[in-house]
Amino acid sequence: MRTDARGGDESCLADNPNPPGALRAGDPAAFEALVRRHGGRLLAVARRILADEADAADAVQDAFLQAFRNLDRFEGNAQVGTWLHRIAVNAALMKLRSRKRRREDSVEALPPRFDEVGHREDSGGVWPDSTEASLDRVDLRRQVRAAIAQLPDAYRTVLLLRDIEEYDTAETAAALGVTEGVVKTRLHRARQALKSLLDPMMARP
C-alpha cells in the first residue's frame, strides 16, 4: 500500500505523527480536531468502497471510534492520515460485508462475446489516446468513477483496492479475506467489466 500525502499538512495538533498526550488521554478537543482534519478524506474512500452515502457515513464513524479506542496501538513513525485511511478502508469493508447483499449481479454477461467459432462478436470502436486534446480528463475521471460504482461489490472492492488504493495482491487478499488467486481473477474480470461499461462513452469507430 502506498503512503502518500493523504495525511496532508502534518504540522497541526491533530496531524502530529506522534499523537499528543491530550489525544491519547481522550481529550475531546483533540479528538474533534482529528475528525475535522481527516474526516473528509475518510468519507471519500468509504464512498468509493460502499457506493452508498449513509453506509459511508456509518463507516467513517466506525473508523474514528476504532481509531479513538486504539490510539495506543498507533505506531509513532507512521502518519496519522495514513493510519486513519487504513482503518477507514477496513471499516468500509466490514460495513460492506454486514449489509444486505446487493449489486451481486454477475459480470459474466458483459462482453467480450464470441461467435460459435471463437471470434469476437463485438469488434467495437477503440478508445482515443488520453493525450488527445479532445479528451477531457476531468470528464473521463468522472465517467470512470461512475462506472466503478456500478460494478458488483465483489469486483468493485478488488478493483478499488488494487488500482486506486494501490494495495498489492497480498494486501488486497488479506483485507478481503480471500485468496490471492481470487483477487487476480476478480481484478481481471472487474477491469474487463469496467471497460465494457465505459465503451459506449469512450469507443470511437
Binding site: V35, G40, R41, F114, G118, R120, S123, D163, E165, L187
Partner: protein
C-alpha cells in the same frame, strides 16, 4: 488461434506475464485480428485512465464532513 483462446491465455497469465511461446502466439493473432488489436489498445488506455484517477484521488482536496456527521461522531465517542 481464436479470439476466445487469446483472451483465455491473457486471463490465465494475468499478473504474471506471458511465456515466450504464449507471447508469440498472442502477437501472431493480434497481427491478423483488427478486433483484438483495437480491444487491447482500448484496454491499455483504460488502465491509463485508472492510473490517472488513482493519482487524482491521492491529491484531491476532499469536501469536509458535514457538521451533522461530525457531531454524530463526537457524540458516539463521548458515550
Amino acid at each position: 488461434m481464436t479470439c476466445r483462446e487469446v483472451v483465455a491465455i491473457l486471463e490465465a497469465s494475468f499478473d504474471e506475464g506471458l511465456t515466450a511461446e504464449s507471447r508469440a502466439d498472442v502477437e501472431a493473432h493480434l497481427f491478423g485480428c483488427r478486433a483484438c488489436r483495437r480491444e487491447f489498445q482500448s484496454y491499455r488506455r483504460m488502465l491509463t485512465a485508472l492510473r490517472d484517477l488513482a493519482a487524482s484521488v491521492r491529491f484531491e482536496e476532499p469536501e469536509p464532513l458535514s457538521e451533522a456527521l461530525i457531531q454524530r461522531i463526537l457524540a458516539a465517542a463521548a458515550r
